[in-house]
Assembly symmetry: C2
DNA sequence: CTGTTAGCGCGTTCAT
DNA sequence: ATGAACGCGCTAACAG
């Protein structure tokens, strides 16, 4: 084992015949210290590659420059994009990120929080699991004076800043676009009622229909449990086989839309001529699939950035009672799956 | 700010009228300590929610139970799968994972290593960037006695354990499958020569052709620079427009295969009847696309698990001179894009 | 069985 | 301008 013992302030002091505190201050260019001494110490430190022992510094200062980040699922385009933004931003500000996942299981989330708290992160970024309601495990952070920032999947039970996407508006604009393309019988495959993002999107869908005088049929609204591709496939089948099939389907997320596309293709139903399809999240696969899937971009990278900056801000200001809401605008990405080729169908909306 | 001061051993000792070390030992059920004392201390600690100060413990023991993990790109199905496996396994063993990305830029990788080293991880997991050759920044870890485990994208210049996928064999089996399905003119869209994985896959491809008496035409081998979808599209176009177009295309990765599929669909070339397509990596989208894309599964999750277990092993044994190679078997996933419907085409291989 | 003591590396207050 | 001394919270060698 190679492991050469690291140089400490004590070593420098001994070698240079000065005291430890002088060495310490010299390295920080403390005004009390003589120019000559500073130069001397700095030169020696430089030459022998002195690196302060982070563990000791952290201990002394009671902070680590590490931030915790917990998401429901790591292997997920949106979340990994958020993480990517968070990591890059953290790095720029001298912070590292500890990543963990809950698999949408409360017990796992609590565990993840505990280990993070134990490993002494300076703050926490979290997108809660479907099972999380009260979030007492998150209050533990606040009680220790460690700030928490929620993002994307949030709970209002917790008094922390939240970085979210304007789901309602994103959804509204998506449906409005469908209407503008001439679609009139617009179905929605939504998520679970208890999940805020899903509700917001469903509300945006309904409002858009209402505002444009279209009928809102409950039979055209289907609820996913797991947000899987298969559900999209199955609900699409149900919808298309019903007495009154829709001419467009707005899906809670791109993955579900993939299932929808699959069914339509299998049945040789023309997209978008016969049925338009709109996703949400703008995953990588939305641009790869054929025809391209129109979708709502959630700016995941930016969400990660904003959340980290907010958290660092809280840490610096010892602020744990902040509950600001940062809402990111969405971006409608229009591709082949919704752009009707028949110009006669199109409608100009205000 | 709420921040209630945390209970320390000193507090417990004072309250219970015992010494600090007795309190410390009692909590650890040290054999020297009387049963009664242990009960007493434990009860008090429990009641007042004593939690040892991790920063102090880390400082004392000179370790953090944090592992560093660096990948070229976080938003990437394969890498996020590896990370997922790494995190789950680390958690089970009481370790946290610090994640960073290099964006395939050497300078970023060096930076990431430095901050990780500074934040005192106990060891490092890394999949190097395309630009990394010597890896002196990684040697810094070894010099400090901190073990490093490489995975997937590795360099032989570094004397560390490596967890890799058997690219050669995966590729060989994939091409063999194509041959078995009756394809005879098999092209390969490969990656850069300098990248080991790409070379291994290309070699597997060549060997399979050789072993089955098929011709190896250099014009059927195209080299990607960026491994993007567009390259797949462009090379596919080149291949199909050439005088002697192939009847199957084996792609270095699923993303490239997506470009290939896109071109073929646009030209209404039947898959797999006219041209078979094989990917590599088995991304999520391989099963979503239509027809399903045959691919080679790399067991990313398992790679993450194995790498973490190896690293923890090294840490426990203070072992930094280990250069074991852990090679994971691949798994051929057969889907619609290669399963010829004409049984007459099929060949039985040994 | 338990307490005393020393020290990890660094920052900081208080002398000088 | 510099040094001595203390303490952060915990562990462990040593002493009873």
């Amino acid at each position: 084992m190679t492991e050469k013992r690291k140089l400490t302030l004590k070593d420098i002091a001994r070698e240079l015949g000065i005291s430890i505190s002088t060495a310490s201050r010299a390295l920080k260019e403390h005004p009390d210290i003589a120019e000559d001494t500073i130069r001397l110490v700095k030169a020696y430190a430089e030459k022998h590659h002195y690196v302060p022992n982070t563990l000791a510094v952290n201990f002394r200062k009671n902070r680590t420059f590490n931030l915790g980040l917990i998401v429901p699922e790591l292997v997920h385009h949106f979340f990994s994009t958020v993480i990517s933004g968070a990591i890059d931003t953290a790095k720029k500000n001298g912070y590292n990120i500890l990543v963990s996942q809950s698999n949408d299981i409360l017990a796992d989330e609590v565990m993840a929080c505990r280990t993070m708290l134990a490993s002494s992160v300076d703050g926490l970024l979290i997108s809660i699991s479907n099972e999380t309601v009260e979030g007492v495990h998150l209050k533990e952070f606040l009680e220790e004076g460690k700030p928490v920032v929620q993002f994307d999947k949030i709970t209002d039970h917790l008094n922390t800043p939240k970085v979210i996407v304007d789901d309602f508006n994103g959804s509204y604009m998506a449906v409005k676009h469908l209407i503008g393309q001439g679609f009139r019988k617009i179905a929605h495959i939504r998520g679970r009622t208890e999940v805020k993002n899903a509700s917001e999107r469903a509300m945006g869908y309904k409002q858009a229909l209402l505002d444009h005088g279209l009928e809102l049929r409950e039979e055209w609204v289907k609820g996913c449990k797991l947000i899987h591709e298969q559900e999209g496939y199955d609900f699409c089948k149900e919808l298309m086989e019903s007495k009154n099939p829709p001419d467009a389907i707005f899906c809670i997320t791109d993955l579900v839309a993939m299932g929808v596309l699959k069914y339509l293709k299998e049945k040789s139903i023309q997209i978008p001529e016969q049925v338009g399809v709109m996703g949400f999240s703008n995953w990588k696969l939305a641009e790869i699939v054929n025809p391209g899937l129109s979708s709502v971009d959630q700016h995941g990278y930016e969400m990660g950035q904003k959340a980290v900056l907010k958290l660092i801000d809280l840490i610096k200001n010892h602020d744990v009672e902040n509950d600001e809401i940062i809402e990111l605008k969405t971006n409608l990405i229009i591709r082949g799956s919704t752009t009707s080729t028949k110009n006669s169908d199109k409608v100009t909306l205000q």
